[in-house]
């Protein structure tokens, strides 16, 4: 009996310490972590907008963001619009949807007049490296630049086709060997990106 009580007490004391130490550490790093998150979002937005110079330091990122971007909300969805001092008129928004292996998240920047894509980046995904993971590669993302999106069309806004099969201006090459991921990207544009553009249409500024 005593042995069992001893074991239980030991475990309880140990658990208390093993919870307290990480909890304290978490508290003390909380602000730092939040700073990182914010910096990450800002960097992603600026990258999608293509107004981020190479090798930008965190200070530069925060600086450029503060000068060039304002945050807007439409129907609960966050949009980032460029200020007049940015010299280009762009609107960016976060996108997200199911991928094959996990959620895919990213940022898309468009011209608010034409809905032409300025930049696309994928910030988070769990796709297979070398296959679906290739959505991160420049050649893939660059394909989307200058595509004109039409949120009112009945057809898919963007189609991912097997290389060599492109016919429409809004067709891009899918990734060979990653049919599922490619499909998910197409759905992502058709659902989430379309929804964002429709919100833009309703409330242009």
């Amino acid at each position: 009996m005593v042995k069992i009580i001893r074991s239980v007490v030991f475990m309880l004391v140990l658990s208390a310490i093993c919870t307290a130490v990480p909890a304290w550490l978490k508290e003390s790093t909380e602000e730092r972590v939040r700073g990182h998150e914010l910096l990450k979002t800002r960097r992603n937005v600026l990258t999608a907008m293509k107004i981020l110079p190479d090798g930008a330091t965190p200070d530069m990122i925060n600086d450029i963001f503060r000068k060039s971007v304002i945050v807007q909300e439409r129907n609960g969805r966050t949009f980032w619009a460029t200020t007049p001092s940015a010299n280009t008129e762009l609107i960016a928004f976060a996108i997200g949807g199911p991928g094959f292996w996990g959620p895919i998240e990213g940022v898309v920047a468009v011209n608010p007049e034409t809905y032409g894509i300025v930049g696309v980046i994928f910030t988070k995904h769990s796709e297979t490296p070398g296959l679906g993971g290739r959505i991160d590669e420049s050649w893939f993302k660059d394909q989307f630049t200058d595509l004109l999106l039409d949120p009112m069309t009945e057809e898919p806004m963007v189609r991912l086709m097997a290389p060599g099969n492109r016919s429409r201006p809004t067709d891009v090459d899918a990734i060979t060997g990653a049919t599922e991921t490619s499909k998910k990207i197409q759905h992502l544009f058709d659902n989430d990106v379309r929804a964002a553009l429709l919100l833009l249409k309703d409330e242009p500024s």
């Binding site: 093993c18 919870t19 990480p22 909890a23 978490k26 199911p98 094959f100 292996w101 996990g102 959620p103 769990s126 297979t128 296959l131 060997g177 990653a178 049919t179 599922e180």
Partner: protein, 198 residues
């Protein structure tokens, strides 16, 4: 994330073939390499892993979404998950020893081995990262376990087949097993284009 049965099935098949947890995600390697010495033990361990992995995936999902998240204790997930797994395995051991002693002796030593099998913990961590629904998590656990079973059985069979072959001394044992696993991994990469849903 869509939580339909359809996606749970896809995740299930993917975990067995295209993203086999052992051959693609490198989980469960230690027991994979040591137990594959004998085909019988491999099958035994494999099934034990299937059982533990499927159940603990479900339990850990519940614990994560209904206890850790609401109480803002997500940072403790590593400790909590492993305790759940260790606790579950201990619990199963006690039950088996009491009610199915024959099965207990057959599987006996494998159960504690599973607690530290990184595959079981790994599956729980991946399911959190990928934001799976309950059904998808259980599907992933089941698929992961079966994937492990398939991989370890094949490796055991291969090692049995080459037992009479002249493997150079420097590669005997672990060396050749690892290379065999590499060839298996190559083969499984070929499954990549297989899964497709409409």
């Amino acid at each position: 994330m869509n939580g339909s049965t359809g996606s749970a099935l896809v995740i299930f098949f993917a975990a067995v073939f295209t993203n086999n947890i052992v051959l693609t995600n490198f989980l469960g390697m230690c027991s994979f390499l040591s137990v594959s010495r004998a085909v019988k033990s491999s099958i035994g361990l494999g099934w034990a892993v299937v059982f533990v992995m499927t159940t603990t995936s479900g339990i850990n999902w519940l614990v994560y979404h209904h206890i850790l998240v609401p109480l803002d204790l997500v940072f403790l997930r590593f400790a909590v998950f492993i305790v759940v797994i260790a606790g579950f395995v201990q619990f199963v051991e006690i039950i088996m020893e009491r009610f199915t002693p024959a099965l207990y002796f057959a599987l006996g030593i494998f159960l504690p081995l599973i607690t530290v099998n990184c595959a079981v913990l790994g599956v729980a961590l991946f399911m959190v990262i990928r934001d799976y629904s309950f059904l998808e998590s259980v599907g992933y656990g089941l698929g992961g376990g079966l994937g492990f079973l398939v991989a370890i059985t094949i490796l055991a069979a291969l090692r049995w087949r080459i037992r009479k072959s002249k493997v150079i001394p420097a590669l005997q044992g672990a060396g050749i097993s690892v290379i065999l696993a590499g060839i298996m991994a190559l083969g499984f990469v070929a499954f990549s284009g297989m899964i497709s849903i409409n």
